[in-house]
């Protein structure tokens, strides 16, 4: 997570704005609140105070204390160093002005203050992800208890809007198919539009549908990722751990040579017309030998630790073999196929960018190559080939030496 977290505090009445700076801040600048993410101490936080006139006052702060997590929400204490006497004075004038022009504050939004006189501190949404609101619902027709339900649902919806797919479902990124499915069903039991149908309220139905849409989309995305990785099978709305009929790609080439790359016809593609050495059919030890940075002393460090059972190793090996033989386009195709199977592998993605860069170099597009190599380093900062190639490319602009590039995968 780069950059500061942005918390949005929505004040629907000017009274709440006043309460914010008069009663909510301890020692003039310390605010306690519960946030729906795991906060670390000393994390930067930007607080957007949303005023009833749609204005947003931005206040910087730092997390000072983190409490326990309850129901997916963490109690934090934030030191708002942005609260200066000038800011308070500005808020005071805004409140005075806002009260002078009444009527603007309540427009369809439920304005009844939350219980315990607490301002709407829990209403947190990322400033940079504004999902378009549907037209205001006829909330007015709701009964007292329904209104409470409505408000809690709306809070839930706001919370979900800022979350990633796995956070919506409340599971970890690497959750198993069973976890994803049971989390989704549990949410479905709470938020499916049918659950609220007995209230016969369009407003409740609408907000429930919105939540269900968020939950279902999160499920669909998690499901698609799991299926793409070969970890699950999906039929209709279901999700099952992959049994039998889906075979993990890495299982294919253990022990036998069936999946060894065929000896590709070596086509020199590099513009400098330097021929590559013809390759014997590659053997496994040679493939790993390729990874050695310096073979002269026999103890070179490996660019890719072989001990790690990396996802898509077979793909990677194939791709590297193609890269070594100079068939960059083929390597790129292999890697693009690999990314369909292992969409989360940073190593493969980085290698894909490297292959694209080499391909671009074949076509003489060094600018494109540079940007591809930079992209590779973003995906995997440890990608040695990208770093070396980028350095070489930058130097080459000076002296025109393409040797390093050519030797990259040899």
């Amino acid at each position: 997570m780069s950059g500061a977290r942005i918390l949005r505090v929505r004040c629907v009445t000017w009274d709440q704005v006043e309460a914010f700076y008069t009663r909510k801040l301890r020692r003039g600048r310390v605010l306690s609140m519960r946030v729906p993410f795991a906060a670390e101490p000393n994390a930067e936080v930007t607080l957007g105070l949303e005023l009833p006139n749609q204005m947003v006052v931005v206040i910087d702060g730092t997390v000072t204390q983190v409490g326990d997590e309850v129901d997916g929400k963490t109690a934090v204490e934030i030191n708002l160093h942005g609260v200066t006497p000038e800011l308070v004075a500005r808020l005071e004038t805004l409140v005075a002005d806002g009260r002078a022009t009444p009527g603007e504050s309540d427009d369809g939004e439920p304005t009844s203050p939350a219980p315990d006189g607490e301002p709407a501190t829990a209403e947190v949404a990322m400033l940079d992800e504004e999902t378009p609101e549907p037209a205001p619902d006829p909330v007015a027709s709701l009964s007292e208890s329904e209104r409470a339900v409505y408000q809690s649902l709306e809070g839930e919806l706001r919370r979900m809007r800022e979350l990633a797919a796995h956070e919506v479902l409340g599971v970890s990124w690497g959750a198993t198919p069973e976890e994803v499915r049971s989390a989704w069903i549990a949410l479905g039991r709470r938020f499916h539009p049918d659950v609220m149908a007995r209230h016969r309220s369009p407003a409740l139905g609408r907000v429930c549908e919105e939540i269900a849409i968020h939950v279902n989309r999160a499920y669909d995305r998690m499901r698609a990722a799991l299926v793409a990785e070969g970890r699950a099978a999906a039929v209709g709305p279901s999700l099952h751990p992959a049994r039998g009929w889906l075979i993990g790609f890495d299982e294919l080439d253990t022990g036998d040579r069936a999946f060894e790359p065929h000896d590709p016809p070596v086509v020199p593609r590099f513009r400098s017309s330097v021929r590559f050495d013809n390759h014997e059919p590659l053997r496994e030890d040679e493939l790993f030998g390729d990874l050695k940075l310096d073979t002269s002393d026999g103890a070179g460090e490996l660019a890719m630790p072989t001990a790690r059972a990396a996802p898509g190793e077979a793909f990677e090996r194939q791709a590297r073999a193609r890269l070594a033989s100079g068939d960059h386009a083929a390597a790129r195709e292999i890697l693009s196929a690999a990314l369909h199977v292992y969409p989360r592998s940073g190593t493969l993605r980085a290698l894909y960018h490297v292959a694209s860069a080499m391909d671009a170099l074949d076509g003489g597009q060094s600018l494109l190559a540079t940007s591809q190599l930079e992209a590779a380093l973003v995906q995997d900062p440890g990608c040695r080939e990208a770093a070396v190639a980028l350095d070489a490319l930058r130097q080459r602009e000076g002296d025109g030496d393409g040797d390093v590039l050519r030797r990259l995968f040899q």
């Binding site: 378009p132 069903i185 479905g188 039991r189 499916h192 539009p193 049918d194 149908a197 007995r198 549908e209 269900a212 849409i213 279902n216 989309r217 499920y219 669909d220 099978a233 999906a234 039929v235 209709g236 709305p237 279901s238 009929w245």
Partner: protein, 528 residues
């Protein structure tokens, strides 16, 4: 009985429809029509004097004026006239299927054309009348069942039909789920069901998983041209052949005799589901060239019927296998085979299905009505009277948008869980473009020809700007009923802009309102 249940469960079938409610103690009750039957034939007959009859009278009217009697309108509902299925169907129908101005399949009845929605609405209105008579209160809401494979257009058409009949659809429920609900699966343990629904005109197979109150349709398959009518036709064909041999009469050229024969064939078929033999007795069925009347008197044994219908029954197997294959299951992984639809009363059908799945199918006591009962259970569930059930549904087909002559860009994937929403951003292509047209397609292909055109929409009121600088976000929402909504937002200014359908599959709102107004006065005078 005042506010307890103003909503009813309706099974809007291809050949027969039914309406059910759940009593206060939770017992299902099928409402009987004026004719005393629990199902209402989904037939509408237009009299020459403008009178319209629905149900059993329409079926008997079909004998006299087949070209003015519409049945099986559900198969045309929400379809385009150039749809291959519709073309194939149109050949077999006694009435004429014509294209509506927007390309939908409509029906020509005498001088006027009617939409399938209107036919369905007339059936729904009759069912509503039956329910109102029983309940003594106005019925304004319903849960209506649709086949699981109904796409967005067909579901919307069903909703429109309900609106014309003055009914608000609380939920469109897929038929296999309704059957399983009506069977009472939510009270039992976790099971995997295969629902085989063989009705008058269609055969649907669905694999439904029930696990801890969670219902999900894993896969469905079907043959929309396989049903009891085919067996009737097989019997009629056989009898016509026999008459040609014995009396040298060509019955097919006798418009009076054929409907009579068909009705008797159906009756014999029903009798032979219980008995071993039945007598066919048609006096003065037709005349030979000399003018002598020909009577058709002959006992028909069950084995004869089964012999004649064997080619039809052989077609049951493919959809069953297909459904299992789509669900990725073998037949041993199926816990229960549920038989739904009147045709499953036929012993030969049961035998065939038990051969296919390798286990005795579960006999539902009321195969004609179990779907309507399921719809009634759904009403109770929506009212909060039954808890702990979760019905999961997915989109039958994908939704795509295209702009100008470009390819279709898939927005909502097939088998995405509903409700769902996805969006695409479209950009203007010309300087100062104030309007943007886009097309909405149903289907997964990038090829336009492979998809079904749902409508063309025009976004107007865009700000003046150079080409490509005005971005419009098109948001497609599929709700829990499987019907689609379109919303647009202009991204630069953030204004919601006006979006209007230019052409649109299905009826327009105005047409629905107009039809509702012409039909509704009948409701007020209907129940005496």
């Amino acid at each position: 009985m005042s506010q307890a249940s103003t909503a009813v469960g309706i099974d809007l079938g291809t050949s027969n429809s039914a309406v059910a409610i759940l009593d206060r103690d939770g017992a299902p009750r099928i409402l009987t029509t004026d004719a005393g039957t629990t199902t209402l034939p989904s037939a509408v007959s237009f009299g020459p004097d403008g009178a319209v009859v629905v149900g059993a009278p329409a079926v008997s009217a079909a004998m006299h004026r087949p070209e003015l009697t519409v049945f099986g309108a559900k198969r045309l509902l929400g379809r385009r006239c150039d749809d291959p299925d519709v073309r194939r169907l149109a050949h077999t129908l006694p009435f004429e299927v014509v294209p509506a101005p927007n390309g939908d399949a409509w029906i020509k009845v005498g001088e006027r054309t009617v939409s399938p929605e209107e036919i369905a609405a007339r059936v729904l209105r009759d069912l509503r009348r039956v329910a109102e008579k029983f309940l003594g209160a106005e019925v304004t809401e319903a849960v209506i069942t649709v086949p699981a494979w109904f796409d967005a257009g067909q579901r919307q058409a069903t909703k429109d039909a309900a609106a014309i009949a003055g009914l608000t659809v609380r939920r469109l429920l897929s038929e296999p789920v309704a059957a399983v609900l009506g069977y009472g699966a939510h009270r039992g343990q976790n099971r995997r069901f295969v629902v085989c629904d063989l009705g008058g005109g269609t055969f649907d197979v669905a694999v439904v998983d029930v696990e801890g109150g969670v219902f999900e349709v894993l896969a469905c398959a079907g043959d929309s041209f396989l049903g009891g009518d085919d067996i009737d036709r097989a019997v009629v064909d056989q009898l016509v052949r026999e008459l040609r041999h014995t009396h040298s009469v060509a019955l097919t050229s006798d418009p009076e005799a054929l409907p009579r024969l068909r009705a008797s064939a159906q009756r014999i078929k029903h009798l032979l589901s219980v008995g071993i033999a039945a007598d066919l007795d048609l006096e003065q069925l037709t005349r030979v060239a000399s003018g002598t009347a020909v009577d058709l008197r002959r006992p028909i044994r069950r084995d004869e019927l089964e012999l004649w219908s064997a080619p039809v029954l052989r077609r049951l197997e493919a959809p069953c296998r297909e459904a299992l294959a789509r669900a990725g299951r073998t037949r041993d992984q199926v816990d229960e085979v549920l038989l739904v639809g009147g045709m499953t009363r036929m012993p030969a059908v049961r035998r065939r299905i038990s051969e296919i799945f390798g286990k005795e199918p579960r006999l539902v006591p009321n195969p004609d009505e179990v779907v309507a009962v399921g719809a009634a259970v759904e009403v109770a569930r929506l009212d909060g009277r039954i808890e702990g059930i979760l019905l999961l549904d997915v989109t039958a087909r994908g939704l795509a948008v295209s702009i100008d002559d470009g390819p279709c860009d898939l927005v909502i994937a097939p088998s995405a869980v509903v409700p769902t929403r996805e969006h695409r951003v479209l950009a203007t292509r010309q300087d100062g473009q104030r309007e943007l047209d886009f097309d909405l397609w149903e289907g997964e292909s990038a090829e336009r020809a492979a998809n079904r055109h749902l409508g063309r929409y025009r976004v107007s009121g865009l700000p003046v700007a150079p080409a490509g600088e005005v971005l419009v976000l098109v948001e497609l929402t599929v709700d829990a009923d499987g019907t689609t909504r379109v919303a647009t937002i202009e991204l630069i200014g953030g204004q919601p802009v006006d979006v209007r359908p230019v052409t649109h599959a299905g009826l327009t709102r105005a047409e629905v309102t107009r039809l509702a107004q012409t039909l509704l006065p009948g409701v007020a005078t209907g129940p005496g």
